[in-house]
């Protein structure tokens, strides 16, 4: 359960931690769009430098970032196989029997890999430096215009924040149940297919039971504190912009502009 690094909040006091979640969210959107714009490979140099800077500024260890990236290696491998079989452009690089590997298959896979890589690094820098609840506030803030269309912005934001709040709780419970079942001889790692199925069942059923119990308890607790859906609520913590936020958003805007310009001009 502690192995899942992606999306995990790391409580340190880095420069990125201190920025406003709304600015960080806006910057993430701008940067991720920038990642998908360029055509030539050297446009990725400034983006990679930005990613490196973001990692440094959020005081993340490179090992932690590497762990979040591990899943895309498999994706890349799969993508490479598909590309090698279907993409027949560029020069032939390698030949076995009737099969030919084209240069474009490699460069295309690499480009997608680079985009995914950058996207995940940027996202990790956001989620690792922003508390889930702050992030949720930012989402609520950005979605606010939808309220004019009678979209229940606040309720949806509350649902998201409750869901986020319960991820660590349920993952801890899952860890506990897995331990209890391992003690009873369940093998989660290897074992026959039928055994694996019963292993998953031995985790899923208790976890569902706990999730429902928690949901009832939470509903009672919220009611006891006077929560009424749809009612106007005030906030204990107010978000406030600082100069760093402006720098971050401007920088991200510039990056996007530069990438679009490079695409138009080159």
């Amino acid at each position: 359960m502690n192995r899942i690094a992606f999306g995990k909040y790391i409580p340190t006091d880095s420069p990125l931690h201190r920025l406003d979640p709304r600015a960080k969210l806006a910057a993430l959107v701008l940067l991720v769009v920038s990642v998908f714009v360029p055509v030539s490979w050297y446009c990725y140099i400034p983006l990679a430098l930005t990613a490196f800077l973001a990692v440094r500024l959020s005081y993340l260890k490179l090992r932690f970032v590497a762990r979040t990236l591990r899943p895309i290696l498999f994706l890349m491998l799969f993508l490479f196989v598909v590309n090698a079989l279907t993409l027949k452009r560029g020069e032939v690089i390698y030949e076995i029997g009737s099969f030919q590997l084209y240069s474009y298959a490699i460069s295309f896979t690499l480009r997608i890999g680079a985009r995914l890589f950058l996207m995940i690094v940027f996202t990790t820098c956001l989620t690792a430096t922003t508390k889930p609840l702050d992030l949720n506030l930012a989402i609520e803030y950005i979605l606010r215009p939808l309220g004019l269309l009678r979209f229940p912005v606040h309720e949806v934001a509350m649902m998201i924040s409750i869901a986020l709040r319960f991820i660590p709780t349920l993952s801890m419970e899952a860890g506990r149940i897995m331990n209890a079942q391992k003690s009873r001889g369940v093998d989660f790692e290897d074992g026959k297919l039928l055994e694996k199925a019963s292993a998953i069942l031995s985790l899923a059923i208790p976890l569902f039971t706990i999730a429902f119990e928690r949901a009832y308890e939470l509903a009672d607790a919220m009611e006891a504190r006077g929560y009424v859906p749809g009612e106007r609520r005030t906030r204990y913590r107010k978000l406030r912009y600082c100069s760093g936020d402006l720098v971050l958003v401007l920088f991200s805007l510039l990056m996007l502009a530069a990438m679009i310009l490079s695409r138009v001009l080159l």
Binding site: N2, I10, P11, T12, Y59, K61, R63, F64, E173, R176, I177, N179, A180, Q181, K182, S183, R184, G185, V186, D187, L201, S202, I205, P206, T209, I210
Partner: protein, 284 residues
């Protein structure tokens, strides 16, 4: 020696800025056939230590020997299933592990995983359930329909059914009523006295520890502070004060009697024994 820990260290979130050193070079030997209490404040490392007994956590440094199994830091340890069969671990709130459709099937789940045939597993499960006071009428019920105390007993029966040599209980009485607590105490004492099981029990209840545990291991900040005779620990004023232990009520009463001039031997463990001593003292 049933269990031997040699310089065990365990660190949570080792590669994070907020890592936590939960066990600090712990050395510990637990003898076979005894009831050992594991006490200490929340966060002192008790639960971490207990999880090592089933290789649910593998130490970052050091070596553990349990019966004829070995777990070493930094190695891919094998034979974990055998280890888990020999050491039965009853977690806090074990009722959360129940998932089979009937009480009997759930209690038989463990033994079946450990290689008993279906009929043998059910026989063992039935025996364990009955020894815990779950009667035959309940065997075909869904465990979710039972009361909290019954659920816990079903879950414990599921561990006992595999007939482990060492039984570890992590706060077995948490959230139970006094009657349920008493039943559990009697159960693990009888498992020890009648069937020779080595028992380790994690507890916050010093009254219970005092009345039925031979030895006590006291932990603080990831280290073992005291390991030895339970009576000696709770009758030692300096040890109690140094570690801010809650004095068992019986010891409190004994001390007050002694202040008034009664002679009470320090081997008195239960209120019944104390009453007998007083009666003898008054009679003579």
């Amino acid at each position: 020696m049933a269990i031997r820990f040699t310089k065990i260290s365990y660190i949570y979130d080792a590669d994070m800025p907020y890592f936590h050193n939960a066990l600090k070079s712990v050395n510990l030997e637990i003898a076979e056939g005894r009831i050992t209490a594991l006490i200490g404040e929340t966060g002192s490392g008790k639960s971490t230590l207990v999880q090592h007994l089933n290789a649910l956590l593998v130490p970052h440094l050091g070596r553990i020997e349990i019966l004829d199994h070995r777990i070493e830091a930094g190695k891919r340890n094998k034979g974990l299933k055998q280890l888990r069969r020999d050491v039965g671990l009853v977690f806090q709130f074990p009722e959360y592990q129940l998932f089979e459709a009937t009480v009997l099937d759930d209690a038989a789940f463990g033994p079946m995983r450990f290689g008993y045939s279906k009929s043998e597993a059910k026989k063992r499960a039935a025996d364990a359930l009955i020894s815990l006071g779950i009667t035959k009428e309940l065997f075909d019920r869904n465990p979710m329909e039972l009361s909290g105390g019954q659920k816990r007993r079903v879950a414990i029966a599921g561990i006992l059914a595999s007939d482990p040599k060492i039984i570890v209980l992590d706060e077995p009485a948490a959230g139970l009523d006094p009657a349920g607590t008493k039943l559990l105490e009697e159960l693990f004492v009888s498992l020890n006295r009648e069937r020779g099981k080595t028992i380790i029990v994690v507890s916050h209840d010093n009254d219970m520890v005092y009345s039925c545990c031979d030895d006590t291991v006291l932990m603080a900040n990831g280290s073992v502070v005291y390991h030895g005779d339970t009576l000696a620990l709770f009758n030692d004023r300096t040890l109690i004060d140094e570690n801010h232990l809650l004095v068992p009520r019986l010891v409190e009463l004994k001390n007050r009697l002694q202040e008034k001039g009664f002679k009470v031997p320090s081997s008195v463990r239960t209120i019944d024994d104390l009453a007998r001593e007083i009666a003898m003292e008054c009679g003579s």
